[in-house]
Each structure stands twice: as structure tokens, then as C-alpha cells.
């Protein structure tokens, strides 16, 4: 495009200033040759294969040739060279192709020839040469950084795309593995015997893979906070069902670890008093101003006086590991028990509500 503009400029200017030329016919021929070369160059530069050193050198040679022809065509006393601004096309081509070095070399050669053919150096000529010397390298440098940026952007896009693809594949693989584990679990339990063990193993793997996926999916933004939901999920297993609200419940890390420890103590109680295979349920209910973790079992319940008696006897296990922890957090631990089983409700206030 630039080439077309400067070529049109060249033709018009030459026609307008035709009186200045000592040899009009030869000038017309040279201009025609330059127009022809421009057309050829436009075609040649359009392909990456042809856009090699030979073309660029030839292009520059043409420009230099046109410059050198000026004194012969115009006589020794001239102001503007015959090609004039037309040389910009070549300069830019060199700058684009060989970066600032190319721009510098082309600018230097063009300036040198331009100065050599002139009888004297005027202020305007010096300005033109100066612009050439500055413009060539700068355009080359800009091209270089543009290309670098494009390459870096391509690389970043590629990295993002491949990370996305990995995540998608991982999800598909996880999903497939979960399906198989679930199927093994289900069929194994139906077949019984040795398969029941297989079923139990599959169940364990399923729940650990599930909580792993969960941990990857929910990220807590504040590093000082931890996600109580994910931490409780880790307690789940074949006998323990953990139910969480489906969104991160960020709390200070020490609160999370204390609540998890208290919950674990409740579950240990279930295993000791009801039985190691007894089912238990952990449920997290997070409201704006507090979180409540309930731990439930369907055992025979705890006789009302037993806890107090245990405390009186100096066996402080339950009281200190559950009630004590909650009290330290400014919360409460309440126990309800009956023929239907036992239920702990661990309640902790949330400072300042949800983040």
C-alpha cells in the first residue's frame, strides 16, 4: 500500500517537475521501470518464499540505481532525487525483514548514495538523511518487538489451551474412573463374599478421588483462610457420609483445624461406643454469622449422666477434646441423645460474616 502511494507520488511529482529534467525521455523510461519494479515487488513480497535476501538486495539495488541515475537525468544541479520518497518502500522492507540492523544498513547505504550524488549538503538534505537513519532502525526495532510479543502471546495461548485440554482430559479420566469404581462397588456388594471386599476398596478409592477433585475445584482466595467444607470432606469414608453446602466455607486456618479435630473426636466416639463399622453422618451448615457442624450416629445413645460422671472421674476425653476446643473458639458443643442415636452440634460464630 505504502509502495503504491509513494510510486504514485513519484510519477506525479516527476510529471509535474518534468521541466527540471535534462533528459525527459530517459527519465520517463526510468520512472516506467520503477513503476514496473514496484508492481513486481508488490507481487514478489506477497509470498513468504519469495521474500528472501535476493529480492531485498535487488530491491535496494534498484533504489540505489535510481538515486545514482538522478544527476545524469536532472543535471548536476538538482534538489530532489528522482525516486524521492519512493526509497521508503525499500527501507521499510529491509527494516521489517532484518530488524533494526537491516533498517540501519539500508538507511546508511541510501543516505551515502544520496549524499554522494549531491554537489553540496543543504540543511534539508541533512534532515532527510537524519530521518532515514533514525526511521530505518526504529521501524526495524518496532517490528522486532511486535514479532516477539506475537510469539509470546502465541506461546501463552498455547499454554492456556494445553492446560485447559489437560483439565478436560483429567475430568474425563476422573469421571471414567469414578464410573468404574461405582460399578465395582455396586456389583461387588451384590455378589458378596470376596467381592464385597473389592466393593469396599472401590468405595474407599471413590470417596478419596472425589474429595481430591473437590479440592482442585474449590480454591479459597485468601491464603490465610482454609476451606472448612473441603477439610470436612476429607473425613468422609465408607462409613462416614459428609455433607457440605457445595461452596467454599472460608474460615481462618486454625478455626478449620480445631473444628476438624473436634469433629474427628466425635467420629472416634462413634467408632468406640457404637462400633467401628457404624455409619455416621457429618453435616456442615454455614449461615452468614455462624457455622454448625453436626455429627450424628444411629447408635444406642449415651446415658445422660455418663458424660458428667466421666468428667467427675477425671476422664476428660470427650469434654476437653470436643467442648474445650469449641469453647476456645467462642462456640458451643451441644449433645443430644436418645433411642434414635447421638448427635453433636458444634457451632462456631463467624467473624464479620461471609467474606
Amino acid at each position: 500500500m505504502l509502495r503504491v502511494v509513494v510510486t504514485v507520488n513519484l510519477v506525479v511529482l516527476t510529471f509535474w517537475r518534468r521541466d527540471n529534467f535534462d533528459r525527459p525521455v530517459a527519465t520517463a523510461l526510468v520512472v516506467a521501470a520503477l513503476v514496473g519494479w514496484t508492481a513486481f515487488a508488490l507481487w514478489a513480497y506477497s509470498s513468504a518464499v519469495r521474500r528472501g535476501p535476493p529480492l531485498l538486495v535487488l530491491d535496494l539495488a534498484t533504489a540505489l540505481g535510481a538515486l545514482l541515475a538522478t544527476p545524469w537525468l536532472k543535471g548536476d544541479d538538482f534538489n530532489a532525487t528522482l525516486p524521492g520518497f519512493w526509497i521508503m518502500g525499500v527501507l521499510l522492507a529491509w527494516a521489517v525483514h532484518w530488524r533494526w540492523q537491516g533498517g540501519l544498513v539500508a538507511a546508511a547505504l541510501l543516505s551515502l548514495v544520496d549524499l554522494a550524488i549531491r554537489p553540496d549538503l543543504t540543511q534539508a538534505n541533512y534532515g532527510n538523511v537524519f530521518l532515514l537513519m533514525i526511521g530505518g532502525p526504529i521501524v526495524g526495532y518496532l517490528c522486532q518487538s511486535l514479532q516477539q510479543m506475537a510469539a509470546e502471546r502465541d506461546l501463552a495461548q498455547q499454554a492456556a489451551a494445553s492446560a485447559g485440554e489437560r483439565a478436560r482430559l483429567a475430568r474425563a479420566v476422573h469421571d471414567g474412573v469414578l464410573q468404574v469404581l461405582a460399578l465395582v462397588q455396586r456389583r461387588g456388594a451384590e455378589l458378596g463374599g470376596e467381592f464385597a471386599d473389592l466393593s469396599r476398596l472401590a468405595g474407599e478409592q471413590e470417596s478419596s478421588l472425589r474429595s481430591l477433585i473437590r479440592q482442585q475445584d474449590t480454591l479459597v482466595t485468601d491464603a490465610a483462610d482454609a476451606d472448612l467444607a473441603v477439610a470436612l470432606d476429607d473425613l468422609g469414608g465408607p462409613t462416614v457420609t459428609v455433607v457440605t453446602p457445595g461452596a467454599a466455607v472460608p474460615l481462618p486456618a486454625y478455626v478449620v483445624s480445631e473444628v476438624v479435630a473436634a469433629t474427628r473426636a466425635c467420629l472416634d466416639n462413634v467408632a468406640v461406643h457404637v462400633g467401628p463399622q457404624a455409619p455416621a453422618w457429618v453435616m456442615l451448615d454455614a449461615t452468614e454469622d455462624r457455622v454448625v457442624v453436626s455429627v450424628r450416629d444411629e447408635g444406642p445413645g449415651i446415658p445422660g449422666d455418663r458424660l458428667a460422671a466421666a468428667e467427675a472421674e477425671g476422664r476428660l476425653g470427650v469434654s476437653s477434646s470436643i467442648c474445650g476446643r469449641l469453647q476456645d473458639l467462642g462456640g458451643t458443643a451441644e449433645l443430644s441423645t436418645g433411642s434414635w442415636g447421638t448427635e453433636w452440634e458444634l457451632s462456631v460464630p463467624r467473624a464479620g460474616g461471609a467474606a
Partner: protein, 227 residues
């Protein structure tokens, strides 16, 4: 044999469609259902197939995996229920993608079961969903409860934020703690039917809210004229 005497709907009359992209699962579920006397009127392995085959198959219940090729389970739920509001969708999901389960329930699914559930649990769930009951797992109850907690939290500019009654919250919490409807009825001295109604109401409120939100979104986006 597994046809419970108290079930209000006869298994033989229930038409079921199974949508799952894992052939082994699809076959296992299909076989279980057929052995139990259900009529499997269609199967599909992608969302597109499910949506295309649904009108001709006219199932009462769609047993739907959420992780299927496009459109996903949530979209399929929305589409088939738009086509036939009397149909029921039972989500049978393997992966722990909780957000998807919640979205499917908001889109109108009335049952949710994890794939590791036993065959009896699956058959009973299909029967109950077909009868219009909601099948909640403790996990789903926890998600729904969490959603209501978030909705009633601060910074909610929605016009009609649904609120649960105290009783509904209480029942939902008990379901989330893993209690069966029967246990809840005993603890609260209510009838089984009343417990069931409370659970259904929580879902209905959530689905209603979701529809209001979708409509509001559509109006905001200037899409209301297209309808």
C-alpha cells in the same frame, strides 16, 4: 419381588429413558430396570440424542447422567421438562461436581442419586420419582440448604428471595444429616406425607426462584421480545 406393596405406581407401567455416555453403565442400569419390570423406552449416550429421542419415547422418568457430551445434563433437564412438564428427571451422577447437581435440580430435576447407590436404591428412586416424590440424598439436601443460606445472605439484590419456613429448614437439615423421611417423621411427630411435602416445597421454591432469575436475566439482556 422388589415391587413394594405400598408403592403407588406399578413398575410395569413406568416408561423410563436412560441417558449415559458410558455403555457399561447404560447397559447395567437398563438391565436392572427391565428385570424389575420397568419399560425402558429409550437410551441415549449424548445430550443431543436424549433431546432428539425424548419426544418419540415419551418416558415418565429420565434417568440422566450429568457428565454427557453436549448439551450437558442441566441443559437436557431444562429442555425435556419444557417439552413435557409432566416428565420427571432423576439425576444419576458419578462425579462429585456438586455445582452441576444443584443446577440440574434448579432446572427441574426431582431426584438425585450417586452411582454407587445399590440396585434397590435405584429402583426405589425411579419408582418414587415417577410417583411425583422427590428423591433427596443427604448430599443434595446439603447443597439445597447451602443455596438457601447463600440466597438469604447479604448482597442479594434479587426481588423475591425465597425463604424457607422454620419447619422446612428443620426437615431439610435432617435430610442433610442423613435421616430417612421415616426417621424424620418419628422425630418430629409428623406424618411421612407431611415430611415429604416439606421437602418438595423446598425444591419447588428453589425452582421457582430459578425461573424468576432466568426471566429477569432474559429481560435484562433484552431477550424477552424473542419469546
Amino acid at each position: 419381588m422388589s415391587n413394594g406393596a405400598g408403592e403407588s405406581t406399578d413398575a410395569a407401567a413406568i416408561r423410563v429413558m436412560v441417558v449415559d455416555d458410558h455403555p457399561m453403565w447404560r447397559d447395567a442400569v437398563e438391565r436392572d430396570l427391565e428385570v424389575a419390570g420397568f419399560e425402558v423406552v429409550g437410551v441415549a449416550s449424548t445430550g443431543a440424542q436424549a433431546v432428539a429421542r425424548f419426544p418419540a419415547a415419551r418416558p415418565h422418568v429420565v434417568v440422566l447422567d450429568l457428565q454427557i457430551p453436549e448439551p450437558n445434563g442441566v441443559e437436557v433437564t431444562r429442555t425435556v421438562l419444557e417439552h413435557d412438564p409432566s416428565a420427571r428427571v432423576l439425576i444419576l451422577s458419578a462425579s462429585g461436581e456438586q455445582a452441576d447437581v444443584l443446577e440440574a435440580v434448579k432446572a427441574g430435576a426431582t431426584g438425585y442419586l450417586v452411582k454407587s447407590a445399590s440396585r434397590e436404591e435405584l429402583l426405589s428412586a425411579v419408582r418414587r420419582v415417577a410417583a411425583g416424590d422427590t428423591v433427596f440424598t443427604a448430599g443434595l439436601a446439603g447443597l439445597v440448604l447451602g443455596e438457601f443460606r447463600r440466597l438469604s445472605g447479604p448482597a442479594q439484590d434479587g426481588p423475591a428471595v425465597p425463604e424457607l419456613t422454620e419447619r422446612e429448614t428443620e426437615v431439610l437439615k435432617m435430610v442433610a444429616k442423613g435421616m430417612s423421611y421415616k426417621q424424620i417423621a418419628e422425630r418430629l411427630v409428623l406424618s411421612h406425607r407431611t415430611v415429604q411435602n416439606h421437602v418438595q416445597n423446598t425444591l419447588r421454591k428453589l425452582q421457582m426462584h430459578n425461573r424468576v432469575e432466568l426471566t429477569r436475566y432474559a429481560i435484562e439482556q433484552g431477550l424477552d421480545g424473542d419469546d
